[in-house]
Amino acid sequence: MSQRPTPPEPIKALLQAHGLAQPSAAFSASLTQLVVARYVPPRVEPFRAGAWLGNAILLVLACLLVLVTYAAPIAVSTVLATSLAAMVMGTGSLIWLLEYYRKRLLQQETAC
């Protein structure tokens, strides 16, 4: 006599209620730690310190240029004045760029 197979629902319910084996809590914790330790990239502290130092140096340079500009005699030529202004603007742009990349780096770090 052929037996009618059981409909899947009771078997499914039984398996879902009791069929899942759990690994030990110690193993679970150590696995998470291992995965995180292996696949999380290291922090980028050295670059941040470098960026601050670069900013400081550029700021000092900019201050020196401003001082030179103000200390120059009135009869200084227009060419010299224009080139000095260009140097100040260039230094300012460099500072701005450096600051911009530093902020982006900080944002990436906080996202991690």
Binding site: P5, P8, G19, A21
Partner: protein, 194 residues
Amino acid sequence: MDFFHPPSAEDLLLRQAGQGQPQALAQLVQRYQALAYTVALRVLGNPQDAEEVVQDAFLKAFAALAQFQRAAKFSTWLYRIVYNTALTKKRSRPLLSDLPSTTEITEEHSVTGDGWEAVRHADQQKYLALALARLPPEDALVLTLHYLGEQSIAEMCVILGKKTSAIKMQLLRSRKQLEQALTQLLPTEFQHLL
């Protein structure tokens, strides 16, 4: 990113894990470790070996996360890695330790209880474990993947490397075998479950 198919929560989680975000990595481990462990346990029948296999499988999966094709589900891909790692482990280990301890458990619980209600809460898990232990490991694995892991027939084909017809047949046979095993263990009580 496809404008018409925005990324699912799991896609975002996988992307964050790929970028090395610790919360995402931990969340993926927590989400899939129990079933990965159950799959390994069904193949190997030994908790220590199963834990070892699960650890290896997770490390392999995260190392190759960049190569993971989004066409398949992450769970399907992970369980395939777990299954293959467990098979390799099983082949490499001595034959003696391969035997699950089914006989001793069966003798211990051969007498049925006073009624289904009595065994329903505390003993259901025990009797299910006994019944699953009576099945061939591959059949118990098919039931686990389909009913617990909610893997479709097509996904099970990917995990186990078999054809659709073979998986369907095996699923039907496994269900019948589990039913028979439960009926043998609990001749009257099992009928109340249906």
